[in-house]
């Protein structure tokens, strides 16, 4: 078939045209994001149920989280969302260098988030504010304060894993951008990585008030 000759290199064999490929990839990404929301949805339910059971304990326990560090991290993630959006915008207009810079900055923001999280975690671990049976801290009033830290660590821990996964994805997109795989014609992977990153960001925007700003 001679139609095949004018097929661009990025177009997979089983798609009829670039439009179909792009739309498929986008739809696939949105469906994937839906599964991610439901994954966290289970934890949000657990949070709601235990908070309803132990409202006072939740209030007392949340005071031991560092609101300043939490807020800084929120700002860091929001900024990273902006830079990833700018990176997509740049590649849409064939500005490869700009896109590379913005992706790199996004990675740096993500790393900053994890470093701050590391300090928060090690402080808590040091004090014995640990989940479940490892909880040894004594300074919190109320029933079962370890449940709060179970929820804190599983939610932020799972989110942290997502940040890490996002960094890997963005890193991969960055390498491909450097190699010149993307241009204003074809930039779907950059866009999808951006979508994923926005979701990671959005989940934190819910986690921050729910955990750090109880009451």
């Amino acid at each position: 078939m001679d139609v095949a000759t004018d097929r661009p290199a990025y177009l997979a064999e089983h798609f009829t045209d670039a439009e179909q490929q792009k739309e498929s990839a986008k739809l696939g990404m949105w469906v994937f994001l839906l599964t991610e929301i439901l994954l966290f949805g289970g934890l949000f339910c657990a949070y709601a149920i235990y908070r309803a059971w132990y409202p006072d304990m939740f209030y007392n326990a949340h005071k031991h989280l560092d609101v300043v560090l939490g807020a800084v991290n929120t700002v860091v993630l929001i900024l990273s969302s902006v830079t990833v959006a700018l990176a997509i915008h740049a590649i849409q207009h064939n500005k490869r260098k700009q896109s590379i810079i913005f992706l790199t900055v996004t990675l740096l923001f993500a790393a900053t988030f994890l470093v701050i999280k590391y300090f928060e975690y090690s402080h808590k671990i040091h004090l014995g504010m640990l989940p479940g049976k490892f909880y040894t801290y004594t300074g919190i009033e109320g029933t079962n304060p370890h449940i709060f830290f179970t929820i804190y660590f599983t939610m932020t821990g799972l989110h942290g894993l997502h940040v890490l996964a996002g960094m890997i994805v963005i890193g991969w997109v960055l390498i491909r951008t450097i190699k010149g795989h993307f241009n204003s014609e074809y930039y779907t992977p950059v866009e999808n990585a951006g979508l994923y990153w926005h979701l990671v960001d959005m989940i934190w925007i819910y986690l921050f008030p729910l955990l750090y700003l109880v009451g």
Partner: protein, 542 residues
Amino acid sequence: MNIIPEKNYLTYPKGLKSWLFTLDHKRIGLMYLFAIMFFFLVGGIFALMIRLELFSPGKDIVSADTYNQLFTLHGAIMIFLFIIPSIPASLGNLILPLMLGAKDVAFPRLNLASWYIYVFGAMFAVYSMIAGAADTGWTFYTPYSIETNTAVISLTTGAFILGFSSIFTGLNFLVTIHKLRAPGMTWFKMPLFVWGLYATSIIQVVATPVLGITLLLLILERVAGIGIFNPALGGDPVLFQHFFWFYSHPAVYIMILPGMAIISELISVHSHKKIFGYKVIAYSSLAIAFISFLVWGHHMFVSGQSELAGMIFSFLTFFVGVPSGIKVFNWVATLYKGAVRFTTPMLYTFAFLILFSIGGLTGIFLGALSVDVHLHDTYFVVAHFHYTMMGGTVIAFFAGLHHWWPKIWGRMYNERIAKITAVLVFIGFNLTFIPQFIMGAHGMPRRYYDYLPQFQGMHELSTYGAYLLGFAFTIMAVYLIHSIFKGKPAGNNPWGGLTLEWQTTSPPDPHNFHEVPVWTHGPYDYDKIKVTPDLEKELETA
């Protein structure tokens, strides 16, 4: 004479590597088929051991602990490794893109990944068998699953990983159905098999992540003692049940909807008759998918949940029943003024209609609050879900397998033996599970290693039935494998189907179609298009 094309997806390209790294949906489907049939065999052997142990009260062949591990593994393997992937991942992968007139699924690499993830997850489950198999039941109820010193972590990790495989298949199908349909194939001109898999995929994508997080929390509970489901640490064991059934009730529709999808297809093709109520069947699949998310609490009527919750869940449960009932009536009505052929796939379709009707109707008993209190956790429940899952899904799977077998391999099995086997399966199945309804209603609890002498007669009958069933499946394996090598070439369209998979060669070309097909008619237009099945052509001309 029918001939088999020399270059087809089975023969080209050659070599083990070309299979292990294939992106062809048909090969991936076939690899899934082999994998799930292997686990059907393993799960089936466990079932036969369970039935042998229960032949008489007291110890027959194994200890109580081994028995508890056997029924756990039987359930976990049959659910997570066999039924959930059975129809979508094997037959769906093989047939769905062909039906749509597509060259492949939307994400072929993701498709291959899902197979490897399946194998990886299965390895954890197998490891669990060696390392002191879990004895929690496939439901992993807390706090028992936190306390027991058996290999719960490896089995739940296996199930967790298998979830990803299931999500990837569902995601792939959703996008494929949305974006890769042949020119001319509008939503309401899609074959009903596609509609059924579409509804299934929605549930897979929405429900499976919740199972994922539930199992993850259970694993953390065992590894790190996080206390969220552990009453000893202030957690709530009943919360686990809510989480678990939020996935696992929709999951039974992940299992049955593809079965219904196959029956919708087969009843029309083998009676050469337009399907009765196409839109109703399509919409009812979506309705079932939607309502299935709202009924999980009917597994917990005696768990101490509030009367209000019981009332709401009971009410909604009945409304899952209505669309299923409507489907059955539509299928039967399709036969009216048709040209019914008593082929092997059709015999399995009839078996499905009878067994699934029993399964569905006995579900009404369990949805009724006061009656459920009596029947909950007895053999009545065991029999009910085997009638829906095995009499429904598994029978439909075998109907579909016999229907598409000549397409997959290009060769036919021996129909006479196949029909006799179908009858044996039907008799064996009923003999196994009808006694279980009766003893369940009399109060025989499920998951019992030992039982009171009054139940012995019924248990004996059930065991005889199970072995008849095992015998019938053995024959099936023999004639199917035989046909792969020695079967008569079946022709491109052995049954006279109108959907696109029958318009390519058997077995299909590696690229499915030589030219992009255009869809000009409905999938069941037997009133407009006369198509003589290849298997009947010689007879008719004679």
